[in-house]
Amino acid sequence: MADEVILLDYWPSMFGMRTKMALAEKGVKYEYKETDPWVKTPLLIEMNPIHKKIPVLIHNGKPICESLIQLEYIDEVWSDAFPILPSDPYQKSQARFWAEFIDKKFYEPSWKVWATMGEELVAAKKELLDHFKTLETELGEKPYYGGEVFGYVDIALMGYYSWFKAMEKFGEFSIETEFPKLTTWTKRCLERESVVMALADSDRIIEYVYVMRKKFGAE
């Protein structure tokens, strides 16, 4: 029986971009359904009743929510193709740790830096730079976060790549200047078709950010 794979996603979502990268790395064919999360369609509500958010991966009618959970699921189901997570339990635990760090720590200042003003913005900028520094240090001299091979943490962080230019613009800093190792790493990841095809255009994201800033009252 052929697999039916559908992805409910919204073009600017850094989380959806991760799932697209993973599906591409595994060579999985899927139907992409553009889904605006601000418009709660019946399908979105049915597939993600708890959070009503994208991305939602639907595999043979069954929904899987949350991008990092989707990455693990994709890795476990299409296990014969390109491994996303390392097989060694310790390396796996480290990969999970850093992906969680990205979502629990890095995520919030990454949007606050364009969505807020005044003191809140100052605090967000400082926090974002601290977390970038932590990520730069963790990468070190390795070609990828997992070592020699592109994988889970690289996907988790590259999901945010389209938003880097917006972060730099509104946070008034340069990733290339401050974080050279990360910069080299992004260029290495951008050699992969799965990554390039998944990402949104950075300038289009900046236009989207202007719209969102009005919504948040930052314009």
């Binding site: 708890i50 699921y73 189901v77 310790y90 796996k92 999970r96």
Partner: protein, 227 residues
Amino acid sequence: MATDDVKLIGSWASVFVMRARIALHLKSISYEFLQETFGSKSELLLKSNPVHKKMPVLIHADKPVCESNIIVQYIDEAWTSSGPSILPSHPYDRAIARFWAAYIDDQWFISLRSILTAQGEEEKNAAIAQVEERTEILEKAFIDCSKGKPFFNGDHIGYLDIALGSFLGWWRVVELDANHKFLDETKAPSLAKWAERFCDDPAVKPIMPEITKLAEFARKLFPKPQA
């Protein structure tokens, strides 16, 4: 696997530390429990978890693993041949277990904690209402996941049982503090029965903290403003 050096940095009162301990007990792993002193962080903790400086930290053959749910998964994967599987075997069931474990930590726990930190009756009542709503969601999740079996994981306790069950001591403390029952036979009948079974499990019983001791600790951690 040879008996490796296993240490766990934690505290008797911590929900998150309890998760790691239950997993270790399920796998019959001997470990050295390094109890942190309330109010300070040991050198070893700071060195082993420099990013978050939090417990629990599992140190296996001198290699630290941080974050409770990550530790539980690590224990399951590193000691795969000992004891029962902690995560379900089917990828879809694993995804569902991970989803609900994340919901418990990101949504449910936050609202439970809000009851203890609430300033004034209005805030407290709002927090109580939110926990009620989220507990109802978990009641349904239990019915869906357990499929008629005694635990979220089926016949034996597993990842999701551990994720929620570790809160049972604190949940009871919050119920007493708020003078409000959540795990009620009428409101959450399946969860109420599951809670009893979970607390009776041999991997859980020896380490579930005493409610009076926990309530006393809660008063220290969440002091009430002077009237």
